[in-house]
């Protein structure tokens, strides 16, 4: 069954769509967190398809709209995809636990939705499972072309190289040179991009809040599934940085599983890729929450 609900978060009544399995009781609950761009249905309606599939297998799922997003009130104008407040996620976790009789809550999301889910999971002491689809580990700002972020001091190699290629293309543009000479170019961005593009300072490119949140989450013996398409633009950075930092994470990041979906891109923009990603997530969920009860 799917029913619209509202949950209180601060002064907002946030909108969400709650999926409950026909066969009661549910094995666990899943909170799907979105990014700034898409609302609760996710990119290419991925969250709707995933939620319906997970519900068929006995999970309760809530797809939530942040303030000012989808059907939630508010006129927030998020200047950066990483600027979603974490409180609504924490409040939604509390709501689901209260509604389900303290069942486990798994946080899930795609791209920045995954990052928002990670930040929320780190803040909610009860959360011990994260399903992260295509989560950027480094600062995605040069790639997504939105604003800047004070907390972000470093970016990943793949992202930096993509940004550099943009600068190289603009070398033939007289306006670009005019901006450079007249001091109108953002030298700060160039200063950040160039070393990263050249692979200098590889130990520094892991995004600090991501690392801290992972550290917090894994210190609770949490289980995390990182799921990427092999054509995901963020995959090279993930592979590069994850190899560097995993030994610094609690238990050597033993709770983390990495799955790759052949050919798929960052947002799983084809029905077939979505089906494979959902099937992969379902297999992981089956391991974590077998029908007879939670494993961990």
């Amino acid at each position: 069954m799917e029913e619209p609900i509202r949950i209180t978060s601060g002064s907002n009544e946030l909108f969400g769509m709650l999926h409950t399995p026909d066969a009661a009781p549910p094995r666990a609950t899943i909170l799907v967190v979105n990014s700034r761009v898409e609302y609760r249905v996710g990119p290419h309606r991925f969250y709707v398809r995933a939620a319906r599939r997970w519900t068929e297998e006995g999970f309760c799922v809530l797809r939530l709209d942040h303030p000012g997003n989808g059907d939630s009130p508010g006129d927030e104008d998020y200047s950066h995809m990483d600027s979603f407040p974490v409180e609504p996620v924490v409040d939604a976790v509390d709501f689901l636990r209260a509604k389900s009789g303290d069942l486990d809550v798994i946080l899930a999301g795609l791209c920045m939705g995954a990052r928002n889910a990670l930040y929320g999971a780190a803040r909610s002491s009860h959360v011990r499972h994260l399903l992260a689809f295509g989560m950027p580990f480094s600062d995605a700002t040069p790639y997504i072309g939105v604003g800047t972020e004070a907390e972000s001091k470093t970016i990943g190699t793949a992202v930096a190289r993509k940004a550099m290629s943009g600068y190289i293309k603009r070398m033939a543009d007289p306006d670009a040179w005019r901006r450079l000479v007249t001091g109108k170019s953002d030298y700060g961005v160039l200063k950040r991009i160039l070393p990263a593009a050249l692979g200098i300072g590889r130990n520094q490119i892991f995004k600090e809040p991501v690392f801290r949140s992972l550290e917090t989450l894994l210190s609770r013996q949490s289980q995390i599934l990182f799921l990427f398409g092999t054509n995901d633009v963020f995959l090279p950075d993930f592979q590069d940085q994850y190899a560097l930092v995993r030994r610094k994470l609690p238990d050597g990041a033993a709770g983390c599983t990495v799955e790759l979906i052949p050919e798929a891109n960052h947002t799983f923009s084809r029905v077939e890729w979505q089906k494979r990603a959902i099937a992969s997530s379902m297999a992981w969920l089956e391991e974590q929450f077998p029908p007879c009860g939670p494993a961990s």
């Binding site: 619209p4 761009v37 290419h44 050919e263 923009s269 979505q274």
Partner: protein, 288 residues
């Protein structure tokens, strides 16, 4: 744009063809709500997602002006059941008709019009033509569904090439569609399966001709910039035939302007639409 926050939209489901279609009712606010209501048929595929918040803001804006609004997710979109194949103009018109009934039952609306966005215009116009005393507003209508789908298929081919797929021509894909190759499951266009029957359903309707002889009062609001689905000559043809509001000062809001950013609200379109609908209530406009 600042939102009114005057009332809380009421989510509901409309059942059509055995499938539940998600809808949201925005009741008119103010001491003297208009007797007019409007049902919004949004665009399809990812345009539905790109426009979602803008349609929400439009509904809030019109409700604040005393016009009750019901917006719904077309079959296979948003929180509705079904797949893209179910979102034919006929089915959208039937869902919109159910939405109009809800408006009349639950609000002070006695006269209901329909507003379509992009491909949703075909459903909105059909719904208006099916309902006595109705009217229609068409936002950026797709004037050539054939060209529109060709463009989507062309983009899909580019995507296939980028991700290591085989190179196919648009004509080959169109042949696959018409012949129902692969069991007729459809061709993936960005996470939605385009079937031959849906393609045919939209291409068969001559929207410029229908807009020229709508049979109901009609306002067309369109962007001056030609697009794949609305080439310049067709924009001009429609502009000559029906009352049109042309703008160039709003962002193309039915696509994500660039990755990571959200389209801005076309406030100008909101105001033009509100004023034209309120003219209906005053009985001033002659209508066409």
């Amino acid at each position: 744009m600042a939102e009114a926050h005057l009332n809380v939209p009421e989510p509901l489901f409309l059942t059509e063809g055995g499938q539940r279609q998600f809808a949201c009712l925005h009741r008119a606010v103010g001491e003297a709500p208009s007797s007019l209501g409007i049902v919004v048929c949004s665009g399809l595929t990812d345009e539905h997602i790109a426009c979602y918040r803008i349609v929400y803001q439009l509904a809030e804006f019109l409700a604040a002006a005393g016009i009750s609004v019901l917006r719904f997710d077309p079959p296979g979109h948003g929180d509705s059941e079904g797949e893209l194949a179910d979102a034919t103009p006929e089915r959208m018109a039937r869902v919109a008709g159910l939405g109009a009934d809800v408006l009349c039952e639950r609000t002070a609306s006695t006269q209901v019009g329909f507003l379509g966005v992009r491909l949703g215009c075909a459903g909105a116009l059909a719904a208006a033509q099916n309902r006595s005393g109705s009217f229609c507003v068409a936002w950026a209508p797709i004037l050539s569904a054939e060209r529109y789908f060709r463009d989507l298929l062309r983009r899909q081919i580019l995507s296939d090439m980028m991700y290591g797929g085989g190179r196919r021509s648009v004509d080959a894909l169109l042949t696959e569609l018409s012949e129902g190759v692969g069991g007729g499951e459809g061709i993936d266009i960005g996470g939605y399966l385009l079937t031959g029957s849906l393609h045919q359903a939209f291409c068969a309707s001559d929207l410029p001709e229908q807009l020229a002889r709508p049979g109901v009062p009609l306002l067309v609001v369109q962007h001056e910039k030609p697009t794949a689905g609305s080439p310049g000559p067709l924009l001009e043809q429609v502009a000559r035939a029906v009352p049109c509001h042309h703008t160039s000062n709003v962002e193309i809001f039915w696509n994500f302007p660039r990755e990571g950013s959200v389209p801005r609200s076309p406030n100008d379109w909101f105001e033009v639409t509100r004023d034209w609908i309120l003219e209906r209530a005053r009985g001033v406009a002659g209508g066409r």
